[in-house]
């Protein structure tokens, strides 16, 4: 087993598994932890997590493939997720998605050639009162790896992408 958690992640792992009467119950939070640590949930990561929790690889795979938040393949530095469900649909989410597809020259779930952005159309983000909403995952941000950007317009979404691009350029 070549993978290993960093000291910080190991501390977090110990805290998590202490919450449940059995190890399998920790599978979802530990997969989140592993994804943050290793970038995406590869078969190797699934084996690693299964080994840690004493869960057969097939059960880890069933879980990793059932839930949408686990990335089975690498994604861009910024995973930009545009909601187009009812409230966002009514307030321009679809137009934002179209604009970002053109701007980044990618299709749904595509990653830009420079590896900076992955764009994805997603389901309701529970931000309907502040629609349209965009969720941006940034694994490099230890404090807020998942951020919401609400009350978006095509112009503000465009500016958001520029800000993120600058952040990636400065390695921030």
């Amino acid at each position: 087993m070549s993978l290993a958690f960093s000291e910080n992640a190991q501390r977090r792992f110990d805290l998590i598994v202490g919450r449940y009467p059995n190890l399998q119950a920790a599978l979802l939070p530990v997969l989140h932890l592993a994804q943050a640590e290793f970038g995406h949930v590869s078969p190797e990561v699934m084996d690693f997590v299964g080994h840690l929790l004493g869960v057969p690889p097939i059960k880890v795979q069933q879980v990793a493939t059932f839930y949408t938040m686990y990335n089975l393949a690498p994604v861009g530095r910024f995973h930009v997720q545009v909601c187009t469900n009812i409230a966002c649909y009514l307030t321009g989410g679809k137009e934002i998605l179209c604009h970002l597809k053109q701007k980044l020259a990618v299709e749904n779930k595509g990653t830009t050639a420079d590896g900076v952005f992955t764009l994805e159309e997603v389901e309701c983000l529970a931000a309907c009162g502040t629609a349209p909403a965009i969720q941006v995952n940034d694994p490099h941000d230890p404090e807020w790896p998942i951020a919401y950007h609400e009350n978006q317009t095509v112009a503000s979404a465009d500016a958001l992408i520029e800000r993120l691009r600058a952040k990636a350029g400065s390695n921030g």
């Binding site: 989140h32 059932f66 009514l90």
Partner: protein, 426 residues
């Protein structure tokens, strides 16, 4: 009409420190817990107050919380669990997020009181994975409450032990269904179990379990402090208390408004949300999340309670309204909803796994003005084959809004048949 100025969960929302322990306590927070544990309120007494409150489940189904708690076995050797359903994901719904982000201690105090009432020592708060800020604030609230002695062993010297843990979901709407949520919490795919047995008998880790929504529990501290009858009196018949109502879509002031159960829908849309955003009149409203059949603009003189909406062939659901104006094509809107349910079906039951996709494909055809073999009757027949034929309610949630759109906007849908284009939107 009831007093519309009473607020509970949003009363101190203008305090930017409300999400911290000191902020919450500065407004009398944890007074309910003190009253119960130090004021000699037995678990049975707390349970009685919640029953008297007519507190209906705020997750959408509206089941009375006090009655649900009563389904637990009277004697059991096994641990009893409280599980909080914080997997907010019903399209159109955005209320639990507000509680977790800005008033999380009301939830924590509610969990502690519920655990006291049902004699549970362990509570898990299952928070939708995308809601990172909610998770952070709930986790911080738990840590602060533990440091203050509200969580842990021998709470307030009462001999009561209780632990609360946050648990992140990972992206699956189905986990808002209580049995799927329990499976997910056990580290499995979120595929609902057959009922019975109900979770109160065989739930998390095979033990008696109560699953309650965030908002439901967040109202419990006020009920314990002020009495169940006082809470019931704030609402209307059989629908006690206040609720967080949401309005989104084409209104002037989308957002959340805390008002009594039974408040007129027109008041919420026109007075609170300021009516329509522009000059275009209202066409319809989805009352409580995407699974609720829509109402026409002419139907909004209706009391927002579980029974009234049911009578109107719809549902109160989560109480978060999505308002849309004239010019919106209801076939296209319904197509987006049908896409959602196809995407979120867990795949366990054939009528739902196949039916949701079949329904979506045909509504999509209709959206573009294609001909449907069997006309609109085809859509009705697909709905009827899903309804009632699945383990959980996701299949019903996919079929009911489509039936509702057909009932309310049948002419518009018929005009799409074979038209070669959408006759509503340019």
């Amino acid at each position: 009409m009831k007093n519309l100025d009473v607020k509970i969960l949003t009363k101190h929302l203008d305090d930017p420190t409300l999400h911290t322990l000191s902020g919450y306590e500065s407004h009398g927070g944890y007074g309910g817990l003190r009253k119960a544990l130090k004021g000699g309120m037995t678990p049975e007494k707390v349970h009685e107050e919640v029953k008297a409150a007519n507190l209906r489940g705020r997750g959408g189904a509206g089941f009375p919380a006090g009655i649900k708690w009563g389904f637990l076995p009277k004697q059991t050797e096994k641990p009893v669990y409280l599980v909080v359903n914080a997997d907010e994901g019903e399209p159109g719904t955005f209320k639990d997020r507000l509680i977790m982000e800005r008033n999380p201690h009301s939830l924590i105090e509610g969990c502690l009181l519920a655990c006291w009432a049902i004699k549970s020592k362990t509570c898990y708060i299952y928070i939708r994975g995308e809601l990172f800020k909610s998770y952070k604030h709930v986790e911080q609230a738990i840590d602060e409450a533990r440091a203050k002695g509200y969580i842990g062993r021998n709470i307030l010297g009462s001999g009561f032990d209780c632990e609360i843990y946050p648990h992140p979901g990972a992206g699956a709407y189905i986990c808002g269904e209580e049995m799927a949520l329990i499976e997910s919490l056990e580290g499995k795919p979120g595929q609902p179990r057959n009922k019975p047995p109900f979770p109160a008998v065989v739930g998390l880790f095979g033990c008696p379990t109560i699953v309650n929504n965030v908002e439901t529990l967040a109202y419990v501290p006020w009920i314990v402090e002020n009495g169940g009858q006082a809470y019931a009196d704030l609402g209307c018949e059989r629908n006690g208390g206040l609720k967080l109502w949401g309005v989104s879509g084409h209104v002037k002031r989308p957002g959340l408004y805390e008002l009594p159960m039974g408040v007129p829908m027109r008041y919420l849309i026109e007075e609170c949300a300021g009516g329509m955003r522009g000059k275009v009149p209202m066409k319809g409203v989805i009352p409580g999340g995407s699974s609720c059949p829509p109402l026409l603009a002419s139907e909004i003189d209706i009391a927002l309670d579980f029974e009234s909406l049911k009578q109107a062939n719809s549902m109160l659901g989560t109480g978060c309204l999505t308002v849309f104006e004239e010019g919106v094509c209801t076939v296209r809107l319904a197509s987006r909803i049908a896409h959602f349910y196809e995407h979120e079906s867990c795949g366990q039951c054939t009528p739902c796994r196949e039916g949701t996709g079949w329904l979506h494909r045909n509504i999509k055809k209709l959206e573009h003005g294609e001909h449907l073999e069997g006309g609109l009757g085809l859509l009705e027949s697909i709905c009827n084959r899903i309804l009632g034929n699945t383990i959980c309610a996701l299949g019903d949630a996919a079929a009911m809004p489509i039936q509702g759109f057909l009932q309310r906007f049948g002419d518009e849908w018929a005009a799409h048949l074979g038209a070669g284009r959408c006759p509503v939107e340019a």
